[in-house]
Subunit: 145 residues, 2 copies
Amino acid sequence: MAGPTNTRFAVAVHVLTYLAGVEGRAASSDELSSSTNVNPVYVRRVLGPLRAAGLVRSRPGPHGGWELTIDARRLPLSRVWQLMQDGHPVLGLHGPDPSCAVGRRVQAALVSLDSRVAGAITAELERLTLHDLLVAEPSPAPPGV
Amino acid sequence: MAGPTNTRFAVAVHVLTYLAGVEGRAASSDELSSSTNVNPVYVRRVLGPLRAAGLVRSRPGPHGGWELTIDARRLPLSRVWQLMQDGHPVLGLHGPDPSCAVGRRVQAALVSLDSRVAGAITAELERLTLHDLLVAEPSPAPPGV
DNA sequence: CGATCTGTAGTCAATATGACTACGAATAAC
DNA sequence: GTTATTCGTAGTCATATTGACTACAGATCG
């Protein structure tokens, strides 16, 4: 189980925090790209679901870009996680032999377990809002950069 | 965040449940392969860490194979999960621009969040033992197989 | 010895992930 | 209107992960 190689949640949190920090003006996907170090197209693709959920707004054209449309204090990270997870299973599932009773039982148990684990993650992330990240203790700048 | 494509935990749980069900004799990786529907080599690779942790034992030769060496009632699934996870992050991380303060702050927050999420998952899985899977309500056989 | 099984290296195909190019459509400034 | 900016999205490509599969050495039992 080498961890997920998927950075969507991390990028989403990063971008939202960034937007919360520059409240008042819009930030382009190019600007967000520089801070996150991922491709601007990828930024736009990650932000798509967040816009659909009403967390951010985007506008094309000069002085366009992305803006937060929700109070950072009222945005728990669980919301972001759920939007990025989009119902996908947390625990990987296999495809056991359907004619094996043990296989069917384990499979059913794993599916139900997955919901519970997703719930546990949600509950844990519920306790932290975007605003908490904004006021978090800043890390020191790395030396020699 | 398309879920993990990794089935190690699922296979491990499946195999352990299977072994708990045939207590008394050893099951070969070929037999386990049939039930789980994964390659026998993969089964052996998944079981490696579980053996190292003392959950199972293996013996080569005729009538050899794998045996559970621990009471299923005393084996919480969290143990299995931790062994398969092996310290890997649960939330994917990105590599933000180190010269950006927001980036550093978010990065640090995500790392700490990851521990908390892993802890939440562990706590949830702690509540279920291998034995609970053994006595779980069996699913009905799928029709037409 | 010979059959059976594990242990492990190594190859391969399928899939996931993101970087990147490209271009159309929307918007603002002039 | 014209031009510059920025989003929206399709599509390609390199890389990494995953797990199937082959192969074979070593252990064990009859």
